[in-house]
């Protein structure tokens, strides 16, 4: 299965989810517990994706370079807390990454 097939399959599955209740008989209802958990899906997914991506960068690097992604992530967290803006993470994190990468590889 190549990338194209995976993308199409994930798209088809997503469409089935979208149509699942729209096309279902009116007497079928979802459990309330599922409704409560829905708000937790996105933060959990974002955390799992970000953590594995950063961990991958750390594990694949040598000793000084391994700290660079961690430092960039830490700066991003602090920037968002200090400014309250979600975009501060990218605006502060990427320059930190570039500067520290330049310093550790020089």
């Amino acid at each position: 299965m190549n990338a194209w097939t995976v993308v199409l399959a994930a798209g088809f599955g997503s469409y089935l989810f979208r149509m699942s209740m729209i096309g279902a008989p009116g007497w079928i209802h979802l459990p309330a517990r599922l409704d409560d958990s829905a708000a937790l899906v996105a933060p959990s997914a974002f955390a799992a994706l970000a953590a594995t991506s950063i961990a991958g960068s750390v594990l694949g690097a040598g000793v000084p370079q391994a700290f660079v992604p961690l430092a960039a992530a830490a700066v991003a967290v602090v920037a968002v807390i200090r400014t309250g803006s979600t975009y501060a993470a990218v605006l502060a994190g990427m320059p930190t990454l570039w500067i520290l990468t330049a310093l550790t590889t020089a």
């Binding site: 933060p43 959990s44 968002v80």
Partner: protein, 243 residues
């Protein structure tokens, strides 16, 4: 039957109601486009996640996992876990769309995602005439779809021209950090985030890159366990605030 003029007015109203969402999601679409261009998959395949999956977080997971060489089934399972919420949206919209033509439900369902859901429901709740609500939903959903695919295309085009030395693959984790941190004030979300991150990292060596899906499920479970208590606490503090 509503007049063409009234339909057009409600359609445009839906487009206007979507504008704040467009400002919010456009950078997300740009980042996904850039990551599609930088990933080790055909750029067009990465962009195709837009019209097919049409859900930012599941698109990111799909592109990242394909780039990392994850097993196809693990990628599909992860995208499906992330998109489980679409079943809830589908359930909510089913009540408004009962009795509509099949073509409408097929199209409306395809365009159903967080912003179109919120913009649509907000109008359906205020409007007694469902047909006007349908026009409003469609206006918002169509403009979202067009803009989403356009900003992804811009990101993919720009991303393909930028040098690898910029380490743009790190844009996504940073962007996700920006999305997560403001939500950490809520107890249930904080526990979900910590559990998801810890379990996903602990499961890095799990075959087929299933660690991400396992982490997501662990996060939802950890958050859901604390949720009723957190809601109760919030209710108590609100009552105290009113006194």
């Amino acid at each position: 039957m509503i007049s063409y003029r009234a339909y057009r007015r409600d359609f445009v109203g839906g487009m206007r109601a979507m504008v704040p969402w467009l400002i919010g999601v456009a950078p997300f679409g740009l980042v996904i486009g850039v990551s599609a261009a930088q990933a080790d998959i055909p750029t067009l395949a990465g962009w195709l996640t837009g019209p097919t999956i049409f859900a930012g977080s599941a698109q990111i997971a799909t592109i990242q996992m394909l780039d990392a060489g994850a097993a196809p089934y693990a990628v599909i399972v992860t995208a499906m876990v992330i998109n489980l919420r679409l079943i809830l949206y589908s359930g909510a919209m089913a009540t408004y769309w009962r009795g509509t033509p099949l073509w409408w439900r097929l199209l409306g369902g395809y365009l159903l995602i967080d912003p179109s859901f919120v913009v649509g429901v907000e109008r359906y709740d205020r409007e007694s005439d469902r047909r006007r609500g349908h026009a409003h939903y469609l206006g918002g959903a169509v403009v979202l779809w067009v803009c989403w695919l356009a900003v992804m295309a811009v990101g993919a085009t720009a991303g393909a021209r930028l040098p690898n030395g910029l380490r743009l693959e790190f844009l996504i984790p940073l962007f996700l950090i920006g999305e997560i941190v403001p939500k950490l004030r809520q107890v249930a979300t904080r526990r979900a985030v910590l559990a998801a991150a810890a379990v996903a990292v602990a499961c890095l060596s799990v075959p087929m890159h299933l660690g991400i899906a396992i982490g997501i499920v662990a996060g939802i479970a950890a958050g859901a366990r604390t949720r009723p208590k957190a809601i109760k606490q919030e209710a108590v503090s609100t009552e105290e605030g009113h006194r």
